[in-house]
Symmetry: C2
Subunit: 333 residues, 2 copies
């Protein structure tokens, strides 16, 4: 148990992320200091944000070359040098992409064990809470309204659309490829799906959201955000959840959106950015709702689980290319 | 009293608005039909929105060539064929740029007489209520926060900055020219003013709003909005009130803003468009606040009054060029 397989960053990507930016290495077994926990990584969460961190400081410090790749994971406490934790406890922490990590106890969030464990990273994790709060608190959808969500086959989008259906809305998903679009309408109950790779998005939106858009849940930014902006109804709401299209190869400040602020004024739109931590206090109530919907079968939980830590770089590169159906994670042990 | 001097549109502008787009003419005296009021125009309100209406439908129908130029005014009821109005009543209505107009009574908003009458178009009119609701309801400024307002020497901006001072904020105004900037700090009590014509706005903002911007009241869009977006603090709020820079010669959808949605997500910003009608129900309480501040001398009411209906086109062209200090209007009779 002395080896600690880990993925290190060889070089920060300047453009598109590629396998040669990473290497698999064996680190030493970390030894927890006072106030720290020794964690065994169980499931690594893959997120577009991983890529953003390689871009410079966002809401966490930037990642540097030579380090273990940063990343959140569901992990089990092996040894504790901090009060309030016991071996066997499950936590969510930034372990990085490695089998074992020592992390300060104050940076580990204890999570109640639920089965399957993977649900703690999807519907009961950041993806589920992001979908829940972004749609309901920012979007404030009313029954009968039209909701559009981009990256609709992704971890967050697939839940956003289903929650909007539960709330009685007409739901249009935007995703890449006919296979994903068919999956959204046939498996997840979306009313319509637009394949953004198949043609211009504007006409497709006018067709699929013929009464206009009341709530747009934006996971991508760029041209799709712009097209939705032009299709919004009066007093529409846009939940700004991410800007995937800008992460892989661009800076956060790049890309101009036409119609800002003209359309925001004329249509009296609200655009609001958020991260799930902003709603930490309301977390328990949200989890109760989500558990109820999962138990009743109203909310399906699409997960895309890959085995083996050595496959983590390819899993992230694939995620950025849009390969995943639902929440992608890597099972480590 | 048979002549009705009026300004007609000769041709809709394709680019910059110019005197030859208008002509002074004598129309016939309108005769009110059942349900209408005959109004005598007293003070014509000049607004960037006048120009926007020439651009196509916004929140009112587009204006067409050959018509009397549309525009809101404070007017007096001369004759009434509708219940609830009496000769001598003051109303705010879209009389157009003419001495007399017949308008449907349901499209006329009765206003309580206050002196000077011009205040009904500035601080107690749309400008004052826009400043009040945009700053307080959307911006939600807290004492000690930094507020930035663009078009700060305009009808709305000059009030926004003063109301923010009343609320205990640090206030930075952005305006064009050293004379306006000196006026903002010396006459209206702004903490700092940035002359956007004097140099790049980014460094000037970092200097004048060194702690970052908590609330940005946007009257202009374009590059100034973009610069402010980059200087916003976490959880900052942007009240989108207009997009003057896009009205004269561009379409509402033109101009790309970089940093959208990346900065909105990372900084968890709220951008919200509004028009004053959205807050109609809260109008009385707002007017009480505004009257109190005016009476106590805390809120100065800058007005820029031009005499004679024949000068209305030049007054609008000048407004779009930024000539006005405070609320510009034309006294008709």
């Amino acid at each position: 148990m002395s080896a600690n397989r880990q993925i290190q960053i060889v070089e920060l990507p300047k453009g598109k992320l590629a396998p040669q930016h990473f290497r698999l290495a064996e680190g030493s077994m970390p030894v927890p200091k006072e106030g720290e926990l020794l964690l065994k990584t169980r499931l690594i969460s893959l997120d577009a944000a991983n890529r953003a961190w390689m871009q410079g400081a966002t809401y966490r410090a930037a990642i540097e070359a030579g380090q273990v790749m940063a990343g959140g994971a569901l992990a089990e406490v092996v040894e504790t040098k901090a009060p309030g934790f016991a071996p066997g406890d499950l936590v969510f922490a930034d372990t990085g992409w490695q089998e074992f990590a020592s992390v300060p106890a104050r940076a580990a969030m204890k999570v109640e064990r639920r089965e399957p464990l993977s649900h703690l990273l999807s519907v009961y994790g950041i993806a589920g809470l992001t979908a829940y709060f972004g749609l309901l608190n920012i979007g404030q959808p009313k029954a009968g309204e039209t909701i559009v969500v981009s990256a609709a086959a992704g971890s967050v989008g697939a839940l956003v659309g289903q929650i909007a259906k539960i709330k009685g809305c007409r739901v249009v998903g935007i995703a890449g490829g006919a296979k994903k679009c068919a999956w959204l309408t046939k498996e997840l109950g979306f009313d319509a799906a637009i394949d953004y790779k198949a043609g211009p998005i504007g006409p497709a939106l006018r067709d699929a959201a013929s009464k206009g858009i009341d709530v747009y849940f934006d996971n991508v930014g760029g041209e799709i955000l712009e097209a939705c902006l032009f299709a919004m109804n009066l007093h529409g709401r846009i939940a700004c959840c991410g800007a995937v299209s800008q992460y892989d190869g661009g800076s956060l400040g790049q890309g101009g959106i036409r119609g800002v602020p003209g359309l925001i004024v004329v249509k009296r739109l609200t655009m609001k950015g958020f991260i799930v931590l902003d709603y930490y206090k309301e977390r328990e109530a949200a989890l109760r709702d989500l558990e109820g919907w999962v138990a009743s079968g109203k909310l399906k939980v699409p997960e895309d689980i890959i085995d083996g830590i050595e496959n983590t770089p390819a899993a992230l590169i694939g995620l950025l290319a849009g390969d995943n159906f639902g929440k992608r994670m890597v099972r480590v042990g």
